[in-house]
């Protein structure tokens, strides 16, 4: 617990405090930072770059986490649920590999894959000269992040599906329900809790994911400057730590809103099941 207080609570609160100052890493403001109150927040909220990055982040989270990872992870888990043996192990191992490899390594893999000139993808699709990362930057990092993070959802859903009694699925089948109806009527209501845990965690992680920076550096023209990249640039490249901290806090608040939405859904489920 001390560990958490020392290395989590304390720095977090300090960051919140920094957000109220004009602290910079260098320059005059580093020598004597001033408390500027909510000015940073004011600035952030009226900054196009902030709103741009917020919109991008939401797209990124929605596209890669909520839709991508969760859906792909679920699809794999669903199709593999009754399988055993080499096929399942291979699929799972590959998916998990993408999850555990260090991000600096996998970004190289993806840069090579999507490269304009000699990229594997262009060679495969016979689309020479397509600069995926430039022409479809958001799509690229979304697909990339799906690739990188689907494993967690897959594992979670595999476990969740294990909790769906086969008899429920079979009751639906006997009534003549197709796959979609089974998913809608039996599986989904049953694993709602897992779905929400999963969404909560992957949204949070994706929201804080800095890796796309290594792929696109926020570009082209800030079209992939998601929130963590924005903060990185503000805090590290421009050294504006006060401002960066304020944005971190804003990010936390947005995360909080997302978490509250999820928890609301969760509560509804709880009411419904008692």
């Amino acid at each position: 617990m001390l560990l958490i207080v020392a290395f989590l609570l304390f720095p977090a609160l300090w960051t919140v405090y920094l957000g109220l100052t004009d602290y910079q890493l260098t320059g005059f403001a580093a020598a004597n930072p001033q408390v500027v109150g909510l000015e940073n927040y004011d600035r952030a909220l009226s900054d196009d770059r902030f709103s741009n990055s917020l919109v991008l982040t939401l797209q990124f989270v929605l596209g890669s986490a909520v839709l991508g990872q969760a859906v792909l992870g679920f699809a794999i888990a669903w199709l593999m649920r009754n399988r055993v043996g080499a096929l399942r192990r291979t699929v799972e191992a590959l998916v998990l590999l993408a999850w555990i490899l260090p991000s600096s390594v996998i970004t190289f893999l993806w840069i090579a894959l999507l490269d304009r000139d000699g990229g594997t993808l262009n060679a495969l699709l016979n689309t020479p000269g397509t600069a995926w990362l430039l022409e479809y930057p958001m799509v690229s990092i979304i697909v990339f992040n799906i690739w990188k993070g689907a494993a967690f959802s897959m594992m979670l859903y595999a476990a969740a599906l294990g909790n769906v009694p086969p008899s429920h699925l079979e009751t639906a089948r006997l009534a003549g329900a197709g796959t979609f109806q089974q998913l809608r009527d039996v599986v989904f209501p049953r694993i709602k809790g897992h779905v929400l845990t999963n969404l909560l965690l992957i949204s949070l992680w994706t929201f804080n994911d800095f890796t796309p920076f290594l792929l696109t550096a926020g570009g082209p023209e800030n079209r992939t400057e998601i929130m963590p990249v924005f903060i990185y640039r503000i805090a590290l490249e421009s050294g504006e730590l006060g401002f960066g901290a304020a944005i971190s806090v804003l990010m936390l608040l947005i995360n909080l809103v997302i978490a509250l939405v999820y928890m609301r859904l969760l509560r509804q489920r709880k009411d419904a099941s008692t």
Partner: protein
């Protein structure tokens, strides 16, 4: 309504387990049919194959006159009640009951009405808006039944429908189920590992062991004349005493005591051959004093059966159990003597019942007898 006929129905699971081994079986139209057997004998597999939830590996299956061997489950016109009822926890009772109708695209108003009617027949009218979690086990079971009934299938399949109820409710539900089936007249197959349940409920019973049917007959046939020692030891609320014996000219010698040969196999035994002498605890009469042709022993355990007592004697023949009237005083450590009712004793040779040669006796195992 329809009869179910299987012809050399076989199911081999991917792992190589032969869960059904060329099962030939006919369940008559409107019959209440029990599948009984120890855990792992293939009861559930048979039921699921009938339902279409498992694909058979060989043989064929007819429901009514239609070959449904390759028909998907939703099109077989059967309803199944699972051991855990499989009620959808997020739906109300009414929604659960109406679910099959919803899948069959019955209009909302119509299906609500039909569901309410079916639930009403089972006394669930007051619970329509509750969720399964808010119901007792017995009520849940009735909801599962109502759901199965809702679309008027021609066959009901029950997999251990009572085993999740507590002892008291199980008894009530048993009687209820029997009455309901009688009224609906729908062909019903139900699986159980509780012989008492099977005896009480079924019109006919198939006793299974490792994927095969070991005996098929009415409850009293199966109870009185188990076709082999496996069935003998499986059927009966207290298992049959099966004692090693040797055929002698004037009876069967069990642990040095000569017991009279039962009338049926009398002419078919060869002097000196080894047989198993079977007698149910209910058909042993207790005597505190020595009687010729009885099994002696010391009272080891006395179990109260309510209006009777189950006494375990330990003697030269090993453990022998007998049922003693509640008013007869039996104390631990006493010596007791168990006198067989000769007309109810059975003799097994190589595990099979020795019969008078009357074909009905043998036919009970394997072929489908008359109910």
């Amino acid at each position: 309504m329809a009869a179910i006929t299987t012809d050399r129905l076989t199911k081999v699971y991917p792992g190589g387990v032969r869960a059904l081994d060329e099962i030939d079986l006919t369940v008559e139209d409107g019959e209440f049919f029990a599948l009984l057997g120890p855990s792992g004998c293939g009861k559930t597999t048979l039921l699921r194959t009938v339902a279409g939830l498992e694909e058979s590996s060989g043989g064929s299956l007819h429901i009514g006159d239609v070959d449904v061997t390759r028909t998907p489950p939703g099109s077989r016109d059967v309803a199944m009640v699972f051991q855990d009822y499989a009620l959808f926890p997020h739906m109300t009772v009414a929604e659960n009951v109406a679910y099959p109708l919803r899948i069959k695209k019955v209009a909302r108003a119509k299906r609500t009405e039909k569901a309410a009617a079916t639930a009403g027949e089972l006394g669930l009218s007051d619970y329509l808006e509750r969720r399964p979690g808010q119901l007792s086990g017995g009520q849940q079971q009735r909801v599962a039944l109502a759901r199965a009934m809702a679309c008027h299938p021609s066959v009901f399949l029950f997999d251990e429908p009572l085993s999740n109820l507590d002892a008291r409710m199980r008894l009530e539900a048993r009687t209820f189920l029997k009455r309901l089936q009688r009224e609906l007249g729908v062909t019903t197959v139900f699986v159980t590992h509780d012989q008492a349940e099977a005896l009480a409920l079924a019109d006919r019973i198939a006793v299974m062991e490792s994927g095969r049917i070991r005996q098929l007959g009415t409850p009293s046939e199966v109870f009185r004349r188990p076709a082999n020692t496996f069935v003998a030891s499986f059927i009966g609320s207290t298992p049959m005493n099966l004692l090693d014996g040797v055929v002698r000219p004037r009876g069967i010698e069990v642990a040095g005591e000569l017991l009279p040969t039962p009338p049926e196999p009398a002419g078919r035994l060869v002097d000196g051959e080894k047989v198993v002498y079977g007698i149910r605890p209910e058909y042993l009469v207790h005597s505190p004093t020595a009687v010729p042709g009885s099994l002696a022993g010391e009272v080891r355990v006395v179990e109260n059966l309510g209006h009777a007592q189950l006494v375990t004697l330990e003697g030269p023949a090993g453990f022998v159990q007998l049922v003693v009237d509640e008013d007869t005083p039996v104390a631990l450590g006493d010596r007791g003597f168990a006198v067989p009712r000769q007309d109810r004793a059975l003799v097994y040779r190589d595990g099979e019942l020795v019969t008078s040669g009357d074909p009905t006796g043998l036919a009970a195992a394997g072929a489908s007898g008359t109910a």
